[in-house]
Symmetry: C2
Subunit: 339 residues, 2 copies
Amino acid sequence: MMKDGKTTIHDISKALDIDSSTVSRALNNSPRVSKKTKEKIVRKAEELGYQRNRLASNLRTNRTFTIAIVLPRISRHFFATVIAGIEETAYEAGYNVIICQSLDDLEREKKIISSLISNRVDGILISISMETKKYEHLESYKNLGKPIVFFDRPCPLHDCINVHIDNFKASFDATEHLILNGRKRIVYFSGSQDIELYRQRKKGYIAALNKYNIKVNNNYIFESNLSEQDGVKSAKNTLKFKNIDAIHSANDTAAISAMKYLKSIGIKIPEDIAIVGFNNDPISAVIEPSLTTINQPAFKIGQIASRYLFKQIENKPIDAKNQSKFLGAKLIIRNSSKQ
Amino acid sequence: MMKDGKTTIHDISKALDIDSSTVSRALNNSPRVSKKTKEKIVRKAEELGYQRNRLASNLRTNRTFTIAIVLPRISRHFFATVIAGIEETAYEAGYNVIICQSLDDLEREKKIISSLISNRVDGILISISMETKKYEHLESYKNLGKPIVFFDRPCPLHDCINVHIDNFKASFDATEHLILNGRKRIVYFSGSQDIELYRQRKKGYIAALNKYNIKVNNNYIFESNLSEQDGVKSAKNTLKFKNIDAIHSANDTAAISAMKYLKSIGIKIPEDIAIVGFNNDPISAVIEPSLTTINQPAFKIGQIASRYLFKQIENKPIDAKNQSKFLGAKLIIRNSSKQ
DNA sequence: CTGTTAGCGCGTTCAC
DNA sequence: GTGAACGCGCTAACAG
């Protein structure tokens, strides 16, 4: 048959002289339809090449079985891996995934959320843009009674789950690692202190210095957006000091580009200088095997964040106080209403 | 107001004592509504925090402003970059993007397509799974009158556009490059010859040997799925021969893992052996700068493929005979009905 | 267990 | 230029 895939439940209904509501129930595997009629209906449906029109059922039920991922940039390895983790979970649970890039642009993020509201996605997984400091756009989504889960970049929005690593600890460990390897004059490439994640990382760096009684030299701390250009710029600034023996960068983008630059001007890494980066990207580990990096369990983050989302969508009980360890970077899961 | 974002056109209709159909027209910017009422309506809509319910409008119009990308694996750098290219174009054109991974599993691909039919996505961009040799599932989508564009992996399905590089030429160039650098005994890691893309690449390899009067030695050609494990296995097989001075791999995964393995057992690359890989991933270029790779213009492929898709969705004229050059890998765009 | 009825929120006739 | 009425395809609510 296959006539355009436009077969509706009414076609089945007519062909079998069974009411369309029964057909609907049967196709939804409702327990309130007898096995026999169910079988008859299912057979006919296949015969006619029936495919449920989800648009109609979405409208009726006000559900879409679609979730959205909103993140700065798909092509960053960390995010691509998070997506893979989410996608796996979603596929198993029967959800579609739509993906939106904010490009770290707040206006774009707002537009995206507005479109997601119009499209009535069942839930949102988001790593907020660097520019996001107010959350009205997200609140207006929440007001629909639909859940948001934040990953990577924490957000204090009421009654939302956050999934991210323990940035303080990861940064502390990385710095300590350098110190224990005899590096004491450590330049720190910091991210914007408007952002919780980077505040935590900076604190970790400082705490490690304190632990080993190394004086914190504010001149050694460069704050930037940690872009590639920032990495080069910060590397150049680093060279103005004598005797620097390590760089700790709060993200991998800046770490890698700084390293590339330093190599290009003949500085041997890690003999002349050691670098620590937050490794989201396999390049950093490959480009210089001795580079110290903090692995973020990206795939796991995706799985866990989306599982929490699905639980909320399906009104299942959640316990968002768990804190588990993964790959050496402690993973934090918390519900911001509990704070 | 913001009462749940549940404002409908009827709320606006009541508040203004204008019929809802007029409200609908105004919000769709129909020319058949006076400027004044239009303005009044738009103002009220904003005041009430109205957001169109796309579920309803989708049902009515049988359009979704959503396209789907179906590909083997998101986390491969090549595909992640293609996605970024598609997403950019889609965002500009006002489309949502939903992403589905086939994991190179035909059954999964079929399920995905079936779900996309149910969800009435406006178009599909697909890099078919390795297992896909028949195309009924794709045809039943096409029968809805909706377009499919194939990228990376060509497909002969009638009346569909294909976007991919010139695999023959890329492979020829790579082999020639090795030869011109004095490498003559070149092992070739081939992909399955059931797949058009790998047939082309193999032909390119052979053609280059022919050009320089190098005899094709079939023992030097290993066919596999080019996975990481295959890379190691093929590398081991390569070592059984004496005097091999180059490896040309039909994909980067196998090339990289072969190279890692060879390095691990003390073979110096490229002094003892040169390797050519198809570079989809920046790692391969970074891990061994002298590794020769063929760059695929992934972002461009995404942009171009999605532009063709949007044109078809919007019934605009298309010319799918263009062939442009990009980054040294000739890009092919063709409509399979023209063949 | 099955049928009847009604309506999700829009967009589109067709009148006037 | 605007209003009334209908229907997209499906499912929830209520009968029986």
